[in-house]
Subunit: 592 residues, 2 copies
Amino acid sequence: MPSYTAPIKDVQFLLHDLLDVSHNDIPGYDELEADFTGAVLEEAGKVASEVLAPLNPVGDVEGCKLENGLVSTPTGFKDAFEVMKEGGWTGLDCDPDYGGQGMPYVLNTAVGEIFSGANQAFTMYQGLTHGAYSAIHAHGTDEQKAKFLPKMVTCEWTGTMNLTESHCGTDLGLMRTKAVPQDDGSYKITGEKIFISAGDHDLSENTIHLVLAKIPGGPEGIKGVSLFIVPKYIVKDDRSLGDANGVSVGSIEEKMGIHGNATCVMVYNDSTGYLLGQEHKGMRAMFTMMNEARIGVGMQGLAQAEVAYQNAVIYAKDRLQGRAVTGAENPDGPADPIIVHPDVRRNLMDQKSFVEGGRAFLLWSANLIDRTVRADDKEADGLVSLMTPVVKGFLTDKGFDMTVQAQQVFGGHGYIEEHGMSQFVRDARITQIYEGANGVQALDLVGRKLAQDGGKHVMAFFDMVKTFIKENAEDEALKADFLEPLKQASKDLQGAGMYFMQNGMTNPNNALSGSYDFMHLFGHTCLGLMWARMAKAANAALAAGASDTAFYETKLATGRYYMARQLPATGMHLARIQTGADTVMALDAEAF
Amino acid sequence: MPSYTAPIKDVQFLLHDLLDVSHNDIPGYDELEADFTGAVLEEAGKVASEVLAPLNPVGDVEGCKLENGLVSTPTGFKDAFEVMKEGGWTGLDCDPDYGGQGMPYVLNTAVGEIFSGANQAFTMYQGLTHGAYSAIHAHGTDEQKAKFLPKMVTCEWTGTMNLTESHCGTDLGLMRTKAVPQDDGSYKITGEKIFISAGDHDLSENTIHLVLAKIPGGPEGIKGVSLFIVPKYIVKDDRSLGDANGVSVGSIEEKMGIHGNATCVMVYNDSTGYLLGQEHKGMRAMFTMMNEARIGVGMQGLAQAEVAYQNAVIYAKDRLQGRAVTGAENPDGPADPIIVHPDVRRNLMDQKSFVEGGRAFLLWSANLIDRTVRADDKEADGLVSLMTPVVKGFLTDKGFDMTVQAQQVFGGHGYIEEHGMSQFVRDARITQIYEGANGVQALDLVGRKLAQDGGKHVMAFFDMVKTFIKENAEDEALKADFLEPLKQASKDLQGAGMYFMQNGMTNPNNALSGSYDFMHLFGHTCLGLMWARMAKAANAALAAGASDTAFYETKLATGRYYMARQLPATGMHLARIQTGADTVMALDAEAF
């Protein structure tokens, strides 16, 4: 059975050496001293390793069951959910006014990666609840907030997000679910939603569904979509539960992975709903939560890569096959552990350098969210808005690839379910799809975010890279290994942006044909920047006489690998982008 | 439910426009007139679409069952196997002396792709039998051949290959299975083998296991391994079946995919075995079949990419979401089909250009096998030996990636099992692992094949590329779109080879750290060469007044895409390779 160990030391390095959180000028961050974050991460790590990880294969094998209209979760999920509630983990970054602990998003993200790495399907139950909580918190009336949030913070009531219908996913303007206004100000919701994660289950007393629907007579398409709160059981004014609300589960889906999470077809039949935010402004309400939700999915992709990597390392040190080409390293044994072989190393270094670089990118982005939300920093807002599709798309694409590489380390043993490597691959796969498929992320990046506010945010990113390189130009320890490759990557990224500007006007397909490559080119550049910064932080720690020199030396070596072996991808992406739409759009649809 | 249509037109183009098989100077090839191959492919396509493809999801859902020591295959497999037998498909390229049809390997490969694309797990039963047939045909005594081959050609008896044990896969020298010589010249085989595909099932009367084992007192390690024929039931001299032979199924594995094929733990308990080939030369006997077996696995990876692509195209033309950015293309509908979107195009073109280029590479390699075996062409032998790890590693890695991309076209609908896209991904995944994991292919390529016969074969490849470019230098239709990118790719490949020569002597890890990138760099160069040749063939057909201009124009446009969008990967691979072992091997094993 696979194991999971929280990457506490690495997170601590990022929070304190890289981001220096406790000295950030952000309200609430002064609490984030290293001792405190260390203690929180330790506790989270214990829950992850001891409670959640052992249930991961159980959830995969048993899956969820729909019987007599009710969904039951796999053996042990209920007890584990109680552990999460009792530990206060469900409301870690929620508003103290509603019973939350008020911690910054950056810490919640670090903890979220730990839970998700141990058991993605399980952690989604509270993750979805958090999404619904955020929407009500941002757009609800005081009455709605008072009514729903306290029990959502504790996960006594869980939440869901209902967007997709069978004929419309990305293009929500085609939606058919209806919301008919009633005399008492409520609405009657009727329609069918699909792919509803945590749509129904036995972990909570009530489920608070957030449902997108159209009010008859409203504007056509996406502009006529509104958001509604639709509880499974009507909530009375004293927060006690009333009648069932006409919400039922049509079926649960058989999926490639995340079997422990019930993916439901939800049927709403004259269900009572309460408008959340304004009429016809449902998409806007969704959008305000989108950065957090998408960064959260990027986190999931990274988390699966981390746990897969951990298990690949254990196997590579344990499995004896062949001899090191440079001479036996385990001469008394029948063979050497496979970690001696250069191609196994290459594989593991790909994983290690991605996971650590990706985690830096993730927490750096989470920090920008805190700056935006807690310090009202407009520049941070613009930057994180630009970065969000990159965090989501790049971390999940590469995260999935890394689970595949980790599985490969096991050879045939990785293909059988027994070792759990297949589950990491199958679970990671969904992260590239939900919360906006990665092609949609690329479209958002190139079609919307690049030009947002006159291109100000992407220019700010380039300035940030340029400034870093300039400020450290004399640092010989960074120059050849980190600054030069970063400079090249940034140049490639700018070249791509330039190509879009010069060729996208005449034919937007010239830009959109390169959107996916651009997302990856951007991702590599961001990880390059993160690695250069981490290298600087590691050198500083060593210079300051840090006792754990091995940790910092390893960090530097891992960064050098990323710069040398991964950043060359930027040139390839640029070359592809510069071929424009000609070859991409050459064929008629019939020719396929 | 997914569908499958045999790519007959494309195969015919490759056999006749590209390879011009019926005019090849190879014994037996004169039969391969276009009418004949067309008829064979048509028939195979019918069986594939009507019989095998509908059973593919059945096999995935039901899997195989072990009850009372016997394995049963999924519903319908038995009847379908009868169809394969009756059609003579199981012995298509087998020796007529033993009841085979004696067709060339190139045709068998084309047909194999069709069956495998429709149902990989099913097709493996006869594929494994073919592997065992080939080993006995190549190394058996006349008596052994007469006894076993006729019923293996018809698949009345099926076959298996038993190499792996739980503690040894790649490193077979660690093997523990024993073969104790008996007075009558036979051996008693005792041991446990794992991951035995088609190890037991209800499709045939008898199973002829080929088992690697060590004769006590023989040389240590891999040099002491011998190969044995171990039938499930003893075969009497009149080919009737005698007693059970102490062969039992320990368990069947739960796997990520290919559920329709029983992957067994096989237990041999004093089972009677017959030496195949010479004592202690078991690995040599295996090696003679390895090129064919590995090319066969490359074929499987390609086949899954093809069927996944076909279904992605159907979905992309059918699914309505959003509008083309350049103006509505389905103005009367609620939205445009997603095939209008540039990033969906990019995705589909990646698939299409890989599948068609990969198929050319596959059939070109199969043609080299025929040259080797039927025309005793030593140069072809050397070249295909060099190419084999590239065919296996590159076609399966990219084949898998393409199934993932095809699944992505479906968004959330790709993640649920209903549409079958998940199965293509899960089934394709094994091709990167079995028959030598792809890291081992890369090692074989760089550690063995490159330097084989003084590097003669790789030089022959470079000469082939150079000659093609030179001979067509004045062809303006090829120059910019095909020859220039091919030249660059070939230059990158030579640069990588040069790097290995200059740096691999002092430290072999400098070469081995780049082996995986080299395999991909080589694969891209081969597909580039194939596309350049196909472009030439397409231009020639158009110039000769071929009626189906759309087919040839599409071929050219698809090739241009590959050259423009995929070949830039070669520069990235070269850059990675040239960083050598320094960053790859920097860390101690403990630092992971």
